[in-house]
Structure formats: C-alpha cells, structure tokens
C-alpha cells in the first residue's frame, strides 16, 4: 500500500505533440481515484506513465515516497489490469495468476495459497485449470484482476477494464471491483471514459481534458460544484443544459437571468451577491435535466415556471426525458413518468435555480 504523486508531469511525443501537459495529482494511501475524460485527454497516458510503460518527458512520479521515474515497471511493485485483459493465452488461469509470483521466486505453497485466496475472492476457483480461450469476457476480466490481486502490490492500475464487456456485465463487474477494493483496500488508479463508472467507483474523480486536469473532487463535488463548463457537461447523464443568457436587474433589488425575451427568471436571493459582478454581461446558464420539473403549482423559493413547446418525449420507465428547443438551443428535462407531455404541445416547467450554474462564455469557468 502506498500513496502516489504525480508532479508537473509532461508527456510529449515525437513531433511535439503533448499528450499530458504538466499535471499534478496526489493520491492518498488506500484511495480509489478514477481518471475520466474523453478519448485523447491523456488519462491512459498518465496511467501508463505511473505504470512505467511510458517514459516521462519531464516531471516526477512518486510511489510510496520514492521517485520512480527511472524505475522499470517490474520494480515499481504495481499491478495493472488491461482493457483487453492481456492474459497469456498459452497458460492456464492458475499459471496466469501465478506468473508474477513465480518470477519473483515465491515458494510453491505460498503461490498456491495466494492464487487460491484470490480465486475465492473473485469466484473463479472452478476455472483455475482452464485456458483463457475457454473463458467468457467477464471471467477473463476476473482472472486479470486475480493476477493483480495475488501480487499484493502497492498500487492497482486499471486501464478501462470494463470497456470490452456488454452493458449488463459492465454494471456487475463494476460492483465486483468496488467490492474487491473494499476487501483489499489497495491504492487504486482507474482510467475510464465512462462518467458513470467514475462516479460509482471513485473516492475522488479526476476529470481530464486536452492533457490537463480540469477538476479533482469527490463525485458529489463534481456533480454539484463543477469548476468548468467541460466538467459540468461531462459529469451527469443526460448532460447539463447550457443556455446563453444575460444577467439583469430583477424584482425587489434582486437579479434575474434573461434567456429569451419571454424567459426571464429571478435568481435566488442567496446567489445575488455571487452573481452581482456579472450584471449586464453575456453568460451561459447551466442547469441539469433533473433540475427541470413539470410545473405543479407547488413551487419552492427559487423555483420558476417556464412554458416550452415539447419536441421529443422519451419514456424510460422510472423517468421520462422531454426535449425542447429554446431559441435553437436543445434543452432536456428529466421529469415524472406520469407526465402527459406530448410532442408539439406546451409543457409548463419549473426550473430549480438553486441548482443553477453560471459560466463565462469565453473560458467556460463556473462563477
């Protein structure tokens, strides 16, 4: 078990392309950190640099209090689970799991004990004699995790381990990974492009974009207090709605958000001080679909009624997605499935502006 630190790490490929642009990250002992972001954001490169599979152009990586920049992967005492599992096809499940221990010259009975323990945790005891080709995707993923667990390393690294599984199995394996981390609380760095995986697994989520870290925080922090438009749009599904707006004077000395001529909604008094400096400026209003409700005349302070024409209705069972257009900008609301909303009809909506976010249109920074 160990803490991991990434200090001003840069990765530049031939031709001057920077995949990672000087990131800083401290991961505490036992912590489960998820690096999330779109393709090409540098998350896998960062993980591979921690693993030692990619050289670092500049900066430092610390594992367990030591700089490991020049330490080869085999001496970093880490274990990694790959997207394609990377099981040795010519070895049985037992040998796959035991390989790392055999190379480190563990005694035979110790190897057997550790492999059996890991197999029990992962529920793969009956598979130990099989070859990887005789396993399903989920079983292969378990074996890959088993190979990591038996070594009892300082750090677990997961590189999009669930990407090759079907949706149902992915949810199941996600729970398994969480359970394994609860049983064996090893420091874990997990890379994914799936924000739901990130939110459900992580103690802390690191959102990356274009080779830099956009925000680090707990899943709740990222959801409720995104630092930028990118994070606000990336975390949450369906994504947050973004509407161009202007801040103007409202009733009783307050402020209001003017989205269109007909949609001018008062800003909750608690936020007036915070947004006062942006009065008269063009801004972007961010509001999540789940903070738009069908209006039922029982609004709370900060809830404002808006009537919009329905474009598309998507019933999902436990909720219904309703899509609108506000002056050409698409807007989605997640509303009660008992709704009578129908395409082409007007639907009265309530927006919970206590949950609104206001962003600068140029930098995307949330104010």
């Amino acid at each position: 078990m160990a803490e991991v630190s990434v200090r001003k790490v840069v990765k530049e490929y031939e031709g001057g392309v920077q995949a990672v642009k000087g990131i800083d990250l401290d991961i505490a002992d036992h912590e489960f950190v998820v690096l999330v972001g779109p393709s090409g954001c540098g998350k896998s490169t960062t993980l591979r640099m921690i693993a030692g599979l990619e050289e670092i152009t500049s900066g430092e990586i610390w594992i367990g209090g030591d700089v490991v920049n020049d330490v080869p992967p085999r001496d970093r005492d880490i274990a990694m689970v790959f997207q394609n599992y990377a099981l040795y096809p010519h070895m049985s499940v037992f040998d796959n799991m035991a390989f790392g221990l055999k190379l480190r010259k563990f005694p035979k009975d110790e190897i057997k004990r550790r492999v059996d323990d890991a197999a029990r945790i992962l529920d793969i005891v009956p598979l130990l004699d099989r070859k990887p080709r005789a396993l399903s995707g989920g079983q292969r993923q378990r074996v890959a995790m088993g190979r990591a667990i038996v070594r009892n390393p300082k750090v677990f690294l997961f590189d999009e381990p669930l990407s090759n599984l079907d949706a149902k199995l992915r949810v199941q394996m996600r729970t398994e990974i969480k359970k394994v981390h609860q049983t064996i609380p090893t420091t874990t760095v997990y890379v994914t492009h799936d924000q739901i995986e990130a939110m459900t697994l992580a103690d802390r989520v690191v959102v990356m974009n274009g080779g830099v870290i956009e925000q680090v925080g707990t899943p709740q922090e990222l959801y409720h207090n995104p630092a930028s438009r990118f994070v606000a749009g990336f975390i949450g599904s369906p994504a947050m709605n973004f509407l161009p707006c202007r801040i103007q004077d409202g009733a009783n000395g307050g402020l209001a958000v003017r989205v269109t001529d007909s949609i001018i909604v008062p800003i909750p008094p608690a936020r007036v001080d915070r947004y006062g400096a942006y009065k008269g400026k063009e801004m972007v209003l961010g509001i999540r679909p789940e903070h738009l409700f069908e209006h039922r005349d029982h609004g709370k302070p900060g809830w404002t009624r808006v009537d919009l024409p329905v474009d598309v209705v998507e019933p999902m069972g436990m909720e219904t997605m309703v899509h609108f257009f506000v002056e050409g900008t698409p807007v989605c609301a997640r509303i009660d499935p008992a709704t009578h909303a129908a395409p082409g009809e007007m639907l009265p909506l309530t927006a919970d502006l206590n949950q609104m976010h206001l962003m600068l249109p140029d930098t995307g920074r949330v104010v």
Partner: protein, 315 residues
C-alpha cells in the same frame, strides 16, 4: 403465398420444371459440392504432378536395373548395405538438421533485431536481408563456388592477408560438408527471418507490458511470452524448411557434386548420380524414396503439436 397453397405463375408444367431445377440448384448450391468443384483443377494438377510421379517412383524402385523384372524391395536392401548410401543418410540428416537449426537460430535473432529497428530503416534492412533468398539459388551457389575455389578463393585471400594458410574449402570432407551447410544457411535464413518477424509482430504488445509489470526481464519475456506465442510458426517453418533442405539438390550438386569421396552427397544428388548419371533409374528412385518415411515421421509429430496448440490458444 401466405396461404401456402399458391403455385408459381405458368401452371403445373412450369412448376414441375421448377421442381427439377430446384433439385439441380440444390446440388450445385451445396457447400461441399461447390467446394469440390472449385478445388477440382488443383486436385487434377496434384494428381498429375504429385500422385502419379510418386506412385511411378514406387513402381520404378521395385524394378531391376534394366527395368525388365520385378525385384520387390531388393533395391532398398541393396542400398542399405552399401557404405556410400549409409554416408548419404548420415550426410542428409547432418545437412538438413544442422542447416535448419542454424537457419532457425539466425532467423530468430535477425527477426528480433529487425523488429527493434524503427519504421523506415526496418524496411531497408528487411529488403537487404531478403536478397539471398530472392537470387536464383543456382546462380548464388556458383558465386559461392568461386569464393571457395582453391586457387582464386576470396576467403583464402582474406586468410592470407592475416597470415593464415590456404584452406581447401571443398576438397576435404568435413570442410566441404561445412561449406554446403553454410551456403544453405545463407540462402534459407531470410525465409526464417521474415516468417519470425511476421510472428513477432503478431504478438500483442499488451502481453509484453503485462509481463513487464509481472516482473519479467528481457530474457524471461523471450522464454515466457515470445517463444510460446511463436511456437506454431516456429514448428511449421522448421518442418517446411526440413522438407526443402532434405530434398536440396542445387547447392551440393554445384558446390561439390557429392565429393570429396561422396562425403557431401544428399539423397537428391545421390539419386541423380545413381539414376541419371549411372543409368540405374530404379536404384535412384529407391534412393529418393528413403526421404519419404523420414519426412512423414517429422511432419506427423510437428503437425500434431501445432494442432494441439492451436486448439489451446485460439481465442
């Protein structure tokens, strides 16, 4: 046709002909039939140029020298008792096994070196190293013959420069044996290299990364990842090369013609000498047929291993 009782437009007669057509079409459309028909030209070629000559050789090998009387296995028994033929068996095995082992080792080493040369340069080196393989063997062997020549030998010239005496490259039994093997290795190594290079490129990079994290050093990666992943290609290449090397004719014929004192003869050159030059075609046929059981034995074990591993590994 939803009710299932409708007949095609045109009445009963056309329905009958349609029925016949369907049977013909069914026959033609059966996958095995189509497959057989498509393979037929090849089957005929193989029958003409492989099966017929093979059986004819077996028939010939059981005749007397004048080809007038059936002698059964007499030719084979005669050959086995003959000292020269015992030398031929020994030399053929020595030649084929040594050459194949050396080609495999050198090819593997070169493939590894090649694999680690980045991008464009790799293509250049690959092209250069393939040259021995693409030059017609008879021509390149003639060049080697000149280089081994007792009077004008390029090798001897180099040796002389360093103060060493001339070496009779093709004039002394064991040295001549070494020379024939060396030329075969020179010629055949590029084939191994290119096959192994293709195999190396097909080993998933993630297996090396996983083994690096598991704690493997370069040698351990070679033995625990590369070699097991390449075993099938290595087996097939070795078998293929064993067959062609065993049946080699050009190199020995041009370099030594079997000499000195028949010490470099292999099955093919000896069959040529006995059958064509000495006019005993049945004995030559018997000689060349000796290759068959040896190669069949090797092929059986190699292919059995390949099939077993393919079943194990194929995902």
């Amino acid at each position: 046709m939803a009710d299932g009782t409708s007949v095609p437009i045109g009445g009963l007669a056309s329905a009958k002909s349609a029925g016949r057509k369907t049977a013909m079409q069914k026959f033609a459309q059966r996958r095995s039939t189509t497959g057989f028909l498509l393979c037929l030209p090849l089957i005929l070629l193989v029958a003409c140029f492989v099966v017929y000559p093979a059986f004819y050789a077996i028939y010939l090998s059981m005749l007397n020298k004048k080809m007038t009387a059936f002698v059964g296995l007499g030719n084979f028994q005669f050959l086995l008792k003959r000292h020269t033929f015992q030398l031929v068996i020994f030399q053929s095995c020595l030649f084929a096994i040594t050459a194949v082992v050396l080609k495999a080792l050198l090819g593997f080493t070169l493939a590894h070196l090649m694999h680690n040369i980045p991008g464009k340069n790799q293509k250049i080196w690959r092209g250069l190293l393939l040259v021995p393989w693409v030059i017609p063997l008879a021509l390149s062997t003639l060049t080697w013959w000149w280089m081994f020549d007792p009077s004008y030998s390029a090798f001897n010239w180099v040796l002389n420069q360093f103060g060493f005496a001339n070496v009779p490259w093709l004039g002394v039994g064991w040295i001549a044996r070494f020379c024939t093997i060396a030329v075969n290795v020179w010629y055949g190594t590029p084939f191994f290299m290119i096959m192994y290079l293709a195999a190396l490129k097909s080993v998933p990079e993630q297996l090396y990364e996983a083994s690096a994290i598991d704690g493997a050093n370069a040698v351990q990666k070679l033995f625990f990842v590369t070699l097991p992943m390449m075993r099938n290609i290595i087996s097939i290449t070795v078998l293929f090369s064993l067959i062609t090397t065993f049946a080699d004719f050009d190199i020995v014929r041009i370099l030594t013609a079997g000499g000195p004192q028949d010490m470099t003869h292999v099955f093919a050159t000896y069959a040529f000498q006995v059958g064509i030059q000495s006019g005993d075609i049945p004995l030559g046929a018997a000689d060349s047929l000796f290759m068959f059981p040896i190669l069949a034995f090797a092929a059986f074990f190699v292919l059995r291993g390949v099939t077993k591993r393919t079943k194990e590994i194929a995902a």
